[in-house]
């Protein structure tokens, strides 16, 4: 962002005059900006992603002295900072933090805020704001970010009094993480950053009226749910991201294994349990597997855990599981019964509720019911998967690339998928095994998410390979973050699946718009040359015989690496539930 003229230190000065004064004050009297940084550090924040500008300069000045406590990652666009914070949060379970200046800096965060809201990601955004005396005057780089972000955040607040800073930063960190996680935004006017306060870390517990992040488990409802499960002949468990957010992977495994329950995952629920689990029956949704979509409308009980019956999962609600009873377990009361009415509603943390259900539910084996999923699997394998993995054409298919990536990593890499056809190929064919993860923009479907998010994942987790799987369209939305990746030496592997199209839109144009490819063909740059220009290793591959070796080369590199895989131009992703159809109307071709 351009500098606000009044905020520029005079020639030869390294600090603003107000901050020079701070240095002479008693040790607990500090500037608001210093309080921001100290409060973040006190709150356990060790990494922040951001981009400086005029209205946030005091905070950046304070950060200058706290490099030993908080690592600041300088992104190349504010959208990159919030996606990186999202990736960081989703990879390690801590709250992601990003910092931006006022005006365009703040508004550039908005897509990421919406993304974090849809995908329940704990992120704290700190934005600078013009001095309180200039609020409402259309001052340089003034935007009413509180109004703009209100419908998209879990909570937001503008600080004009420096004395508020410790409590509000602490509250922001608490709200982002507790209950159903989500994004919060704290907007701090410049005078509040420069003004002083007697600093005292905020240590009191947060008691926020009307906010109940940890609902008390209703044992009677657990009993009622277990009775339904015990009686059910054809039950199906739907696993959403709530399982991952509550850390209930182990409890989920014990629950489904004891009751003999087949389970399917939503896009964001992938990775909750290894895809090799014998009770795992596949991916739900528009491009999910045949079995779970068909059997949703043949089961007698749905047990939904930490999922929200998104329209991509249900298809036409009027045709969705009308025959089934529903047990809906979620931590957010507003999600229960929102789209699908439930016989038993359990408002609780997934980990606690699954543990309680496991102790009560009867031990069962449901061989015949599981065999029905196996039969569906055989149909899908014969009509879709076989051709996806062993195509007759000489061109590479996205599906086989993802299958090979899974094979070469053992499913133990952290895969961050962007949005589009390659995302669905990755979800279908990159089977997460123990310790692996699949992170993607599910609810908002934000193209450009994967590269910066992978950056955050790479900083949060050094124990696993981090692979960003991106289409040629999405890559060009946030490709400037290659500079950050190189500068910070984050060993992210970038896999571009290049088909020269905005593939998913093109697929819909082919199927539903008489092949009128309106504005979906891309004239692309040389991606390897771009990587090299940023100082990254890069390679292009288009031959099947070279695929494994090129993946191995990418994975063995200790530095960031870009692998461009040229794939079939007009590949379609199947199965597919057409828009407006019921989930059981899934098409295999």
């Amino acid at each position: 962002m351009e500098l606000e003229r009044a905020a520029v230190p005079a020639a030869g000065q390294t600090r603003l005059p107000g901050l020079e004064r701070d240095l002479a004050r008693p040790s607990n009297t500090i500037s608001g900006a210093e309080a921001v940084v100290r409060s973040l550090a006190e709150g356990g924040v060790r990494t922040v992603f951001g981009y400086p500008g005029g209205a946030i300069m005091p905070v950046y000045d304070a950060l200058f002295d706290h490099g030993h406590e908080i690592r600041h990652v300088l992104v190349r666009h504010e959208q990159g900072s919030i996606h990186a914070a999202e990736g960081y949060a989703r990879a390690c379970g801590r709250t992601g933090v990003c910092i931006a200046t006022s005006g365009p800096g703040a508004t550039n965060l908005i897509t990421g805020i919406a993304d974090a809201k849809m995908d329940s990601t704990p992120v704290v955004c700190i934005t600078g704001q013009v001095p309180s005396s200039a609020l409402g005057s259309d001052a340089f780089q003034e935007t009413d970010v509180i109004s703009v972000s209100a419908p998209l955040t879990k909570w937001n607040h503008q600080i004009t009094d420096p004395a508020e800073i410790p409590a509000m930063i602490s509250k922001a960190l608490y709200l982002a993480r507790s209950g159903r996680p989500g994004p919060v935004l704290v907007d701090i006017t410049k005078d509040a950053q420069i003004g002083t306060l007697a600093y005292r870390p905020h240590e009191e517990e947060h008691e926020i009226r009307g906010y109940e992040p940890f609902p008390t488990l209703d044992e009677e409802r657990v009993e009622a749910a277990c009775r339904l499960i015990d009686r059910a002949k054809r039950p199906l468990v739907l696993v959403g991201q709530g399982v991952l957010l509550s850390g209930a992977q182990k409890e989920l495994g014990e629950f489904v294994e004891k009751a003999g329950l087949p389970f399917a995952c939503t896009l964001l629920g992938l990775g909750a349990i290894t895809s090799e689990h014998p009770l795992y029956v596949g991916l739900l949704g528009m491009h999910g597997n045949y079995g779970p979509n068909i059997k949703t409308n043949e089961c007698d009980l749905l047990v939904a855990v930490g999922m929200r019956f998104d329209d991509r999962v249900t298809g036409d609600l009027a045709k969705y599981a009308r025959q089934a009873k529903v047990v809906h377990l979620d931590i957010d009361a507003s999600e229960i019964g929102k789209n699908v009415p439930a016989e038993v509603e359990i408002l609780a943390d997934a980990r606690e509720a699954l543990g309680a259900m496991t102790t009560r539910v009867r031990s069962r084996v449901r061989t015949a019911w599981l065999a029905e999923f196996a039969a569906c699997d055989a149909v899908e394998r014969a009509r879709v998967i076989e051709n996806d993995l062993n195509p007759a054409s000489p061109e590479l298919r996205m599906s086989e690339v993802m299958d090979r990536l899974a094979a070469r990593t053992g499913g133990r890499a952290l895969v961050i998928a962007d949005v589009g056809q390659h995302q669905m190929a990755a979800a279908r064919y990159y089977g997460c095994r123990e310790g692996g993860a699949f992170i993607t923009s599910g609810g908002l479907g934000t193209m450009g998410f994967a590269l910066p998010a992978a950056m955050g994942v790479g900083l949060a987790r050094r124990d696993r390979p981090v692979v960003a799987v991106i289409g040629d369209g999405g890559f060009q939305m946030t490709s400037q973050e290659l500079a950050t990746i190189v500068e910070e030496r984050i060993p992210v592997k970038v896999m571009i699946l290049n088909n020269g199209y905005l593939g998913m839109v093109r697929q819909w144009q082919e199927l539903f718009f008489r092949r009128r490819y309106s504005q979906t063909e891309l004239t692309n740059p040389d991606f390897v040359a771009i990587a090299e220009a940023y100082g990254m290793e890069g390679r292009r591959v288009s031959e099947r015989t070279e695929l494994d070796a090129s993946i191995d080369e990418m994975l063995s590199s200790e530095a960031p690496y870009l692998l461009e895989v040229v794939v079939e131009r007009e590949e379609n992703v199947f199965p597919m539930v057409p828009a407006g159809a019921g989930c059981a109307e899934i098409r295999l071709e």
């Binding site: 509180i146 109004s147 209100a150 419908p151 879990k154 909570w155 937001n156 607040h157 709200l175 926020i208 009226r209 009307g210 906010y211 957010d332 009361a333 507003s334 019964g337 929102k338």
Partner: protein, 90 residues
């Protein structure tokens, strides 16, 4: 069929509570006919009273959603019929 409802919400005294309330109504295609806001005697709480027109399902969803917002202390709604019956009962 859009019916008339009266919505009453108590929120923390924060400006963003207005924004969230109105934005949620708009998102659920709820037509606001009147709106009044007062501060509680303690000065810590806003009481919002809205007369709206909405489909029953939209009303139910919106109120459930708003009820979950941070800073919303309580929210309820009544249909016109319920209000009339309540008045008749004295």
């Amino acid at each position: 069929m859009h019916a008339q409802y009266t919505v009453t919400a108590l929120t923390e005294k924060e400006n963003s509570s207005f924004l969230r309330l109105i934005a949620a109504m708009g998102r659920h295609r709820i037509e606001i006919e009147s709106y009044a806001c007062s501060t509680s005697p303690s000065g810590a709480t806003y009481k919002h009273v809205l007369t709206v027109r909405a489909r029953p399902e939209g009303m139910r969803r919106a109120v459930k959603q708003i009820g979950g917002y941070v800073g919303v202390l309580g929210i309820c709604y009544r249909s016109l019929e319920e209000n009339v019956n309540s008045e008749k009962a004295g």
